[in-house]
Amino acid sequence: MWGKNPEPKPNTPAAKAPEPVAVVPPKPPVAAVPVPPPAPASAPVYSAPAPQMNATASRVGPGLKIHGVISGESDLIVEGETNGKIYLSNARITVAKSGRVQADIEGLEINIEGTVQGNLKASDRIRLGAASNVQGSLITPRFAIEDGARLRGKVEMSRPGEMKIAESKPAEKVAAKAPETKVESKPATDNKGAATVPAAPSAPTDPNLRAAAARTQGN
């Protein structure tokens, strides 16, 4: 009666299809504003400090909206709004409390304090602060979430090497059909040049080991 059932199990919750984005021809960053490293957040549960940004981190300031793909090597702090994709494979990405992101994010470290709708993929770690609100899948080797954070989505732990392989191929494919990036800005702040890379699809490997299959045949 309470035996385990052998039927195969389908897959994962449907991931949101990334919206096509308008992209501007790649151009150098308008003004990479040096940002002082943020103070480590006080966290009741989380033991690791918030990731430190280096001095050359770029910033999408409050009041700035970016539609398109953000890529490159620089660390990024989002305090405004971003739609599209953020692809900074070797950089730290921080979405500040005022930040609103509707985009898949890929990076080395991802630190969320604001609101994100999209899948997060980090090759090192993801941290969700207490005020964060995330809707989307998380794939990372290391993960931290503070009490109070809202997460609606799937959490998968990857191994440190897995992401590197996945991210290189789709990058080349989409680079060819890069649309334009549209930047809307109230106060002039900095934005980054565009390139195109889709979020590497998360491999829904679901090895469903059902050791007790035979037991439930009679149920």
């Binding site: 059932n5 549960v45 993960f143 490997t205």
Partner: protein, 238 residues
């Protein structure tokens, strides 16, 4: 079959943490929080739930409570894939947004207060949306006591569809009106921590045992544990 259940249950209770831990780095450990003894309770329901999913390594779980580091890491370290969705909080926010839209609607417009049933339908169009049979286990925690009848029946149907055959639901019911609202955090394989939280929904009703069995009528079997704190834990198997 009943004996089979009993025997397995006994062995599960003896084994505090029957699932092997996943090796590898962990950023923030499930033991990071140090709960005080006063707000930690032994959970027979959790032990039983862990036993039921123990042969589904790599399986998928859905946590309908808030996202707690300890709970997420507990399952991730054991190789499960976990999805979280704080359903009660989403429901509250949904109602707030609906209320707001009604308030903004001009007098005489076609916007009229909709029924509880239509609200429930609308809510479930965007919440707890996953393919059928997606999960091997669902942790509902303290949820069903707080849902009105219209939403409850629809949620039960939804959860039943989301569960793979043989999957199970862990839920908590109160045998008396709770003094305060708690969220639940897994401490280890047999303990859960009660975390006081601001009340985000009104406690709707106290379910009697028979009523609990009725709302889980589609499920193959059920088992409940009543604690000294008048908290009833239920396990329901599809």
């Amino acid at each position: 079959m009943a004996m089979d259940w009993m025997n397995k249950a006994k062995s599960a209770v003896k084994t505090a943490d029957p699932l092997p831990s996943r090796s590898g780095p962990s950023f923030g450990s499930s033991s990071a929080a140090t709960p005080t003894a006063s707000n930690v309770r032994v959970s027979n329901g959790l032990k039983e739930f862990l036993w039921l999913i123990s042969d589904k390594k790599g399986g998928r779980l859905l946590d309908l409570g808030p996202a707690f580091q300890t709970t997420i890491m507990f399952f991730i370290e054991k190789g499960f894939k976990l999805s979280t969705e704080d359903m009660l909080r989403s429901w509250k926010e949904f109602l707030t947004e609906e209320e707001e839209s009604f308030r903004k609607a001009s007098v005489g417009s076609e916007a009229v207060r909709v029924s509880q049933a239509s609200l429930a339908e609308k809510f479930l169009k965007t919440s707890v949306v996953y393919p059928e049979s997606s999960f091997d286990g669902i942790m509902a925690w303290d949820l069903f006591d707080y849902l009105d009848a219209e939403l409850l029946s629809r949620v039960m149907d939804r959860l039943y569809n989301l569960l793979a055959p043989g999957g199970s639901v862990l839920s908590i019911f109160h045998s008396k009106t709770p003094d305060r609202y708690n969220r639940y955090k897994i401490v280890d394989g047999q303990n859960i921590e009660l975390v006081s939280a601001p009340t985000i929904a009104v406690h709707q009703r106290i379910f009697q045992n028979r009523e609990i069995l009725d709302i889980f009528g589609k499920f193959r079997s059920s088992k409940t544990f009543v604690g000294r704190d008048q908290v009833r834990e239920g396990l329901f198997l599809k």
